[in-house]
Symmetry: C3
């Protein structure tokens, strides 16, 4: 897409030399053929080092844009980024892609749908009602139980088991909002990557990244009815019990253990080798390792037990 | 169905002039060809103004039934209403309805099932494994990702996006119970109406109304794994994050924001323009607007922060 | 499978008379053609009375194995049991089983998949996208709404209704872990049994037992998005509202009532006829009946109300 077209779509002035823009990305990850945006003062510091060809900004932030990037000035950069995201989003399925590549050693039900452009490795079992989208890749020896949905461009490793009804790659819960309270969808250009030897229970939802990848690292075990939001990263050999949830962009270290119905708030980091009791709610970045936590807000598990003792006393 | 037959089914005495009864409804909404019931003293006040042709009541409440309605007296009106609901319920799918109407501009996967009697508007995309029931209507420009289920008679607006595995229109969780602890299903005669420009995440469940409609108003955004029970109403431009739940007949005003894993109890109202932190539990009707709440039971968000401070002190 | 082969697989020494082992089971339930294991000191007491042909044990527990069973000594019995479980697990679907038996009075969508070896009773309705696995049995008059998945060998009673997207029989969340933090899947050899007159909402997950059966007794009502883990037992006429969860091996008595978003921890028992408010978290065995509980940790509902009063006072 031409930069001049983009400027027109988002209502920005642009008189410079035109160029082709191939995608939308964060300031940090954008390459020189991509456009980015700054919509939050927190990210102003990333402008100078960004390789983005152009940056959507407002009157206040335009001064930080270096001469190597084009500044496209609009009143509401986040809203305009959302508007623009639709233009870089792919169709839900690419019906015109080449026929899917399915290794002949794999068993794929005639009632599953492997979209054009998808790839299925060796010795896989894909049961009825499964959907594997365009550009999606399934590794070797992986089993998809009935009605699993893998959205387009998501990658599933080898030796994985995904149980029935689980959805990998649905759009993250992201939108810009205006003064009238209306919401403009942010199309999610990223994907989900599930590494090798991961087992995921039934009716779990893992959203695709807005840019980049939502990542489930090797050896991890996720139970049923779990929410993994866009851009999360779950470390190797981690374990999360049923109905737990991970909010957007949370990063969880390896060998983490989450009890049932626990939750992790967005945009925080959890150091590896910690255990969280059922119903824990992680609300802050955790830098220590090897500990057991409980409660919401989160506290040391012993403190939580002490608190329950105090509460029992209070009631007497 | 003849009123005399109904009397026989529910074991009530009836000697009056027979008539045709076309449906079952609440006292408030019943029209003159419908039967209603009174099973809770809270609704006795609605008897006098009801247009219902007949009212299932017990010995205590029959005196309130005006002469314009027939009183069908039974020992357990709620149980008998449940018994009767089955007779007014439609089959899960109407195989004999006319072939579905699908606008030729829409893309519908050969592996989706559009039931007889369904209607699909213009420029829709309906991917593999989707189910659109008899009498269901999908507006224009709407996308259903794989394995979305729209039960019969539900209405989806235009410009909607529904992600994989989401179920719209399953029966609400309603039944009468007797002294032996047995439960009699209340067949849900109502539907779900999703207005325009609504996006719903993956593996979310929205139940149909027992009578009338469960309503999701325009511009609303629901995340993954959300429960919306029968007869709920979610106001325009509202936002609910993953794993939140709305119990039966709760009514939420416009531009409400619900954090992840929050919950709203049944039969209450939430004024518009309020924000509820993650894990909030709304247990009472909220009449104020523009506030931020947290906790369970619910309190002002600042009070909740203060409480956490007190708890921290208690632990020292 | 020959016992000598098993010894080789798990790395145990075995010089005795060889025999055929037909399955893997608990110490308590193993019959004389099955192998069992002891991996937790809690179960040492079950060794003496076990009928198992062989028992996987370690150096410390081997002395308790009676002369009627073969002791297979390994360093990590739980890990080796997990390794072995794969050999006794059946394929996800048995494509070579005889064609399914479907009573001619039942309606089965051409877009449903009834696997070879499955049985469907009389007057059932099975809508599009449903999956009924090999060896699974569906009773009479049962309705499966679209995209319901019944894994192999699970039994669904008569007069049941299962709503869309619900998964019955996915593998429980079980695995052995080693010192490197890696997890070895325990293949779940058991099944799920749903008795008669049970209604289950949409997008609910009920896991199969590791050995034996996860059991939902007659007349029970489960709402949407509920988690029932492996080896749970839910008593007759019980009721659980949306988003509640039952952890592994919990046993709930008849006529229990669970509010929305409540939870029951694993390996405990709940006496019959109790009610649990929304968000309750049951963390201990409950021996009393006829009570109302609330809170997490759980307390008497009146105590919970009193606690909220104290908290309100604390804030003033």
């Amino acid at each position: 897409m031409k930069l001049s077209q983009i400027a027109k779509i988002i209502g920005a002035e642009f008189n410079g030399q035109d160029m082709t823009i191939n995608s939308l990305n964060t300031l940090k990850d954008a390459s020189s053929d991509e456009i980015s945006f700054v919509a939050n003062s927190k990210y102003v510091k990333d402008i100078a080092s960004s390789n983005a060809a152009a940056i959507i900004c407002d009157e206040k932030t335009k001064e930080f844009v270096s001469t190597s990037s084009v500044a496209l000035v609009v009143a509401h950069p986040y809203w305009q980024m959302a508007v623009l995201s639709e233009y870089f989003a792919k169709d839900a399925e690419d019906f015109d892609a080449p026929a899917p590549k399915i290794d002949e050693s794999s068993i794929v039900s005639a009632k599953a749908h492997i979209a054009n452009g998808a790839t299925v490795g060796k010795n896989c079992t894909i049961l009825a009602g499964c959907y594997v989208g365009s550009g999606a890749v399934i590794g070797d020896n992986t089993t998809l139980y009935p009605n699993v949905v893998i959205y387009r461009d998501c990658k599933i490793g080898s030796d994985c088991i995904i149980h029935a009804g689980t959805v990998i790659g649905s759009d993250g819960f992201g939108f810009a909002s205006n003064q009238n309270g209306e919401h403009k969808k942010i199309y999610h250009i990223g994907n989900v990557v599930i590494e090798d030897d991961v087992e995921i229970g039934s009716n779990t939802s893992i959203d695709r990244a807005v840019f980049g990848s939502t990542l489930i690292k090797k050896g991890t075990r996720l139970d049923n009815l779990i929410q993994v939001a866009h851009n999360c990263e779950i470390g190797e050999y981690s374990v999360a019990a049923a109905q737990s949830g991970f909010a957007g962009s949370s990063k969880v270290g390896r060998s983490s253990v989450f009890g049932a119905q626990s939750g992790v708030a967005g945009h925080l980091e959890v150091a590896p080798f910690n255990t969280f009791a059922a119903r824990s709610g992680v609300t802050k970045t955790i830098k220590e390792s090897g500990k057991v936590f409980a409660g919401f807000p989160l506290m040391d598990h012993r403190a939580w037990l002490k608190l329950q003792g105090k509460i029992a006393k209070l009631l007497k």
